[in-house]
């Protein structure tokens, strides 16, 4: 394992110390770890908070700032953060307008954020948890932990962050987050494994002519292993899974503030169709340079045109990564004017910045 790190146990801490000195507009707390806008709580505004294992940078810490997240809770590498981080972060950023936790659908993230929501609620903080589960590589929710939360998270954080900045209340922000999730689909692939610092060696081995299709973002193996092929064929394979996806149903637990308890909610998304417009992200898993993403984007654009679909906005680069893994993911979020409006709103974070 060769990485620019010092001691394996200090990886997350030292990276956060770097964030702290690089970005005085953020406040970084070490032990329990969380990062939040230095100007938080922002009066009258809902605080959008996310978190997850480290190793996905710039997500989430790099998306904290004006117009996006109020705070983020980084766990150990690829390990969901703990409820105390989330709870402390919520207390730091809550203006009284409430805290919205955006939670990627992994058992660990879900359970830890649930506990955090309970703690925050007990403290009188208005709170809601919204899941992201957009990974079409996971086929059903009955025989699995359900679709993973992947690329749509980035787009959700931007859009819901903009809505919060615009003064929307907690329920409106939660509704918007749920809507983005139902509009979003992703699929990823790996050319190489990555190495969790604490493990010291690659999570899996891939032959010189192999790739993993349908991976998540934790260096885990994917849906299937295949012989390496061209960028066009890889893109086609992933795009077809995304575009042909036929409406996915799941049951999610959301927080009932009145009852002070969890309620099950059944959600189904609709297939995409001709004439739809999208926010598209072609994302590097970390080790793939942006140049290769453009070759993929070229094919994405071609395929969408062939289906009479429009790319209204795009992101091309490393936004939700798996350490130094080589590979890419594609995310589509069907977008209406409301979503595009929030997308275009100013944002000023280490990882995403425009309009300011």
């Amino acid at each position: 394992m060769k990485k620019l790190i010092n001691a394996v146990d200090d990886v997350v801490k030292e990276q956060l110390e770097g964030v702290a000195v690089a970005h005085p507009e953020l406040t970084v707390k070490i032990g329990p770890h969380y990062v939040y806008r230095a100007d938080a709580p922002v009066a009258g505004k809902v605080a959008v908070v996310s978190g997850g294992g480290s190793g996905h940078e710039p997500m989430h810490g790099g998306f904290v700032g004006m117009g996006m997240l109020a705070g983020a809770c980084p766990g150990e590498v690829f390990t969901s953060p703990t409820p105390d981080q989330m709870y402390e972060c919520a207390k730091a950023v809550d203006s009284g307008a409430g805290v919205l936790f955006l939670v990627k659908n992994y058992t660990g993230d879900v359970l830890n954020f649930e506990t955090a929501a309970e703690l925050a609620h007990a403290d009188g903080i208005k709170v809601q948890n919204i899941l992201v589960d957009d990974d079409v590589a996971v086929k059903d929710s009955l025989y699995t932990a359900g679709r993973r939360g992947v690329g749509t998270t980035v787009i959700m954080e931007k859009i819901v962050g903009a809505a919060a900045e615009a003064g929307k209340d907690l329920d409106a922000c939660a509704d918007l987050a749920r809507k983005v999730n139902l509009m979003g689909r992703s699929m990823g692939m790996a050319l190489t494994s990555c190495t969790v610092p604490a493990a010291g060696k690659p999570t899996f081995d891939l032959g010189e002519n192999e790739m993993e299709i349908g991976i998540g973002i934790h260096g885990e193996p994917g849906q299937k292993r295949m012989a390496m092929t061209t960028a066009d064929e890889i893109t086609e394979m992933m795009m077809n899974e995304i575009l042909d996806d036929k409406g996915y149903s799941r049951t999610v637990r959301e927080w009932d503030r009145e009852a002070g308890d969890w309620v099950d909610k059944h959600l189904t998304d609709e297939p995409y169709s001709e004439g739809d417009q999208f926010i598209v992200m072609v994302n590097s898993m970390g080790g793939t340079p942006v140049s290769e993403l453009y070759a993929v984007y070229r094919k994405v654009d071609e395929m969408m045109k062939a289906r009479g679909m429009t790319i209204a906005r795009k992101l091309i680069g490393p936004y939700i990564t798996s350490l130094e893994m080589a590979g890419c993911s594609i995310t589509l979020v069907k977008a209406d004017d409301e979503l595009l409006g929030y997308w275009d709103a100013p944002v000023n974070t280490p990882g995403l910045r425009w309009g300011v």
């Binding site: 390990t79 703990t82 058992t107 025989y143 932990a145 993973r148 604490a198 493990a199």
Partner: protein
């Protein structure tokens, strides 16, 4: 025979040791069907428990277990953090202010803990999770007591049940947790969480035997 506070404390210490010794092993199991951190997670959590024990070992068993649970929740992360955390929190809550444990108390501790895990994680037997080790273990414990066995016999049966349950996860296709994403590719691998559950119960047996 009753179980002393010291035995509970030495159980927790032995569990910390066994998680440290098996850190690489558990992580390797998690490499195959997960994200290569289960051993690291368990070791991080239980080292913290070990660190905390001196400050709490004079309080009652309920409190010792609850603090263990809270420590795990705030240091482990991942899926196993809230699950093992809940195990010990619920166990501790069920044994509030106890200074020693009867045979039934030991069963209450283990079974309430397991029920906490189920209520959080919603896993059933056969889903290829720690529940596959815990469920037969707790059933064997109860069964032995019900049939007049003593505590040590019950605990031995418990550990045997856990070990068998752990091994039985190998042919299963995971339906919960991260391994479920692998679909059929999860078949043929032993579940890391079931393995750590077996290790933890085995350490309780050791503590009771001592």
């Amino acid at each position: 025979m009753s179980v002393s506070k010291e035995q509970i404390v030495s159980w927790l210490k032995a569990t910390a040791d066994v998680m440290s010794e098996n850190k690489t092993y558990l992580t390797e199991l998690d490499s195959a069907i997960g994200d290569a951190d289960h051993g690291i997670n368990m070791n991080r959590g239980f080292s913290k428990v070990l660190e905390k024990l001196p400050t709490i070992e004079d309080s009652d068993i309920g409190n010792i277990l609850k603090t263990t649970g809270m420590t795990l929740i705030s240091t482990v992360g991942g899926a196993s953090g809230p699950l093992y955390g809940t195990f010990f929190m619920r166990a501790g809550m069920a044994l509030a202010s106890k200074e020693t444990l009867s045979n039934d108390d030991v069963y209450t501790m283990l079974n309430t803990g397991m029920e906490g895990v189920i209520s959080r994680g919603r896993a059933s037997v056969g889903d290829k999770t720690m529940i596959d080790a815990m469920m037969p273990a707790m059933a064997a414990f109860k069964n032995t007591l019900d049939n007049g066995g003593d505590l040590l016999a019950a605990m031995k049966a418990c550990v045997q049940g856990a070990e068998q349950g752990m091994k039985d996860t190998i042919p299963l296709q995971a339906k919960k947790g991260r391994a479920s994403y692998l679909g059929e590719r999860s078949i043929g691998h032993q579940d890391p969480g079931a393995t750590s559950s077996f290790l933890m119960l085995n350490m309780l047996l050791q503590a009771l035997e001592a």
